[in-house]
Symmetry: C2
């Protein structure tokens, strides 16, 4: 085993050398993605947002890069495969490379946990990128923290954004936003894909948002025994779910949901590790919140506690939050809520009946925030309108020109955070 690193190093150096040696071939107006590994010239982005990919696969027969849709790559004279996409929308996109029918991440980019695996990604810089970029302002930090859950009987990891002034005011108490990722992502998402640090540092420095703690946990939580469910070849649960099942809808990006899905029934789930559950709520109230309120200087009570999430994390937020309004005064669903995929809404029964008494709801919930990307379609806007019609105060935010992706959610956070704890 002496040569493990040498061998790996040599192997990889060869790959990298290749990447470097053909650097002269990068078109002058194609700028390497900010997410590339150090020194990698591809993928690069043209001013019109076409993206050029390059992959080394000398003996492959067919190579496709799949970013949203598939773009077949061509084998050029230099022995490398190239593809240039049509113009992509601004923002962060996961992508994969298919080599002779198999799917892999691109060795030229950093990987991010999304879609249930560590995927490649590119960043098409947004016209408003300053809001999620490092600026010369006081910087907070994100703290990686492990804790033991008595509910799941497992160690869990959460990340906590702490604002710059936290250590300067040792007697000040801070409100807390609990913020969830989406399906197939994890507790790292808001930091590495979402730029939570930069967004909040910039907002707080501009006095647009109050200094707050943001706790980013993993929405997957299963008790011993809950993991071992049996799924058929289509990924459909074939065993009765042993835990109480909350009504839920699906959302784009969440397998199992679709136009044929009946609201109020459990969504067929393809993977046991990605599921909405009341176990998460139980874990949150039993383990997570007490741990946070012990480790940090937290302002007490529901008026100082918010919850939000994106996509499936928005669904979990509404599942947890609407059934526990004594614990949260602010709720946000970014491209995900309790009625995400369906147009049908009955204020008396939908969403756990939480909206049945509008006056009572409005008195309790200081901000109910719904958002989506304009390219995601009209569902969230329709839900917001239906809530308004039912007398429920709510805020609707739409990210212009973006899809079910991270730029939509970065912008949603930047719009939501300033509304909190006022």
């Amino acid at each position: 085993m002496h040569k493990v690193c040498v061998t790996l190093g040599t192997l990889i150096a060869g790959v990298l050398l290749l990447a470097g040696s053909a650097q002269a071939q990068v078109p002058a107006d194609c700028v390497p993605s900010a997410l590339n590994i150090p020194g990698a010239p591809f993928p690069c982005i043209f001013p019109d947002h076409r993206v050029m990919f390059r992959v080394s696969a000398p003996e492959a027969h067919s190579v496709t890069v799949r970013v949203g849709k598939g773009f077949p790559m061509t084998h050029e004279a230099d022995g490398l495969w190239y593809a240039t996409t049509t113009p992509l929308v601004e923002g962060f996109h996961y992508y994969m490379v298919q080599i002779d029918g198999a799917s892999f991440s691109d060795p030229s980019t950093a990987t991010y946990f999304g879609g249930g695996m560590w995927s490649s990604a590119i960043e098409v810089p947004a016209s408003d990128a300053a809001f999620y970029s490092n600026q010369q302002v006081p910087h907070g930090d994100v703290q990686i923290r492990w804790y033991y859950s008595t509910v799941t009987r497992k160690w869990r990891r959460c990340l906590v954004y702490v604002p710059a002034d936290y250590s300067q005011h040792p007697r000040q108490l801070y409100p807390v936003l609990y913020l969830l990722h989406g399906w197939g992502e994890n507790e790292l998402g808001w930091t590495f894909q979402g730029h939570v640090q930069q967004i909040m540092d910039n907002l707080i420095a501009a006095h647009k948002a109050k200094p707050m703690l943001i706790v980013m946990d993993n929405l997957n939580a299963a008790k011993p025994g809950e993991d071992g469910r049996i799924y058929d070849a289509r990924g459909v649960l074939t065993e009765a779910n042993p835990e109480p099942q909350a009504p839920m809808g699906g959302a784009p990006g969440m397998p199992g949901a679709g136009p044929g899905h009946k609201p109020g029934t459990p969504v067929a789930r393809r993977r046991p590790m990605f599921h909405l559950s009341n176990t998460f709520s139980e874990m949150m109230f039993t383990d997570l919140i007490p741990m946070i309120e012990k480790e940090y200087r937290v302002a007490p009570g529901r008026d100082n506690r918010a919850m939000a999430g994106l996509s499936m994390g928005g669904m979990q937020t509404f599942t947890t939050g609407l059934q526990n309004l004594d614990k949260f005064a602010y709720l946000g669903g970014f491209s995900g809520n309790c009625n995400g995929f369906s147009g049908s809404f009955d204020p008396k029964t939908s969403c756990f009946g939480a909206f049945a008494d509008a006056a009572s709801f409005n008195q309790k919930v200081k901000v109910l925030f719904l958002s989506t990307g304009s390219v995601e379609g009209p569902r969230v806007k329709a839900f917001s309108d239906a809530l308004t019609q039912a007398g429920i105060h709510n805020v609707y935010f739409e990210s212009p020109g973006t899809a079910h992706e991270w730029l939509t959610w970065r912008r949603a956070l930047a719009d939501f955070a300033p509304r909190l704890f006022r």
Copy 2:
């Protein structure tokens, strides 16, 4: 672009479904690696430390898994490729999958930045794994922190381990260990591959190490203009290096170093982004240390400051530390130092002449720590012996049965940290 996530999700769900549906084929005594994505049964580890890999590549002609050496995979009746290795040594191993001559990470595992890219990895559990595992003890955290470097004129990210009692003792000052990764790795390595949190939490809870801050930065630092060096097809620098060049050796895992290398001359470097430099030292003293001493409650002076690193990080530690003994009282080189690859050592001239006056050196440096894995060979031991013969006090630690890999460095940290700040 509406369907970006749906398409990607569906694609990936297919891959995952495949991974799940054949789960019955996992041998009963083969335990999934702790680094696998949630629910992935492969790679798995047999009790005798053979590892079984599985990859989906339906149309590939040849697939090899490369973990240290290459293990050809065979295309089985279920359409998947399988390989079982010979027994591997304990610990964390990077690995890659080669599909028809191209190198990719395995979609079944988490990826870690090593070898200059995001590589797959498996963890063969060590017999002494408790020391780097979560235990029921008070937990510190690791803080992700961005700061601006006036030397490189770029934003940099460092990670800071903060012990559990830091927030409980708001007037206490803490000593600091600056701890570096190896070639082709980055500032995330000690947290994600190295388990720095668990190692330190366990040592501190057992009163074996003093509570301390550990700052983990990126050893790569280049001023504007230093990035644009020109390398020939073999990766050898063809332009004169514009910055002052410190004498240095190579180390296993660092391309360019080898038996033919002449000590005291620069190593030919294959990649501009991975290099030892005095720019790092300048950045550290100008930007990093002042930032840390502003943001944290740091005990003053050299007696409260240590520096260590692994492999190339050990080389950088000795490059920085030996030339700045007024700033450090403790130095550690884990499988890397100022004399790593060469047997020749002249106490009067080697290593910047720092060992020329043994009495003065011993008076200044409270702990000079050298370590290696027993499988790495006798170089570090020979260097330790040569130092001892020259009258230089030093500590030598050897990790039994491990190679130039992370288990060696986890154990080195666990032996080194208790010796600090006494």
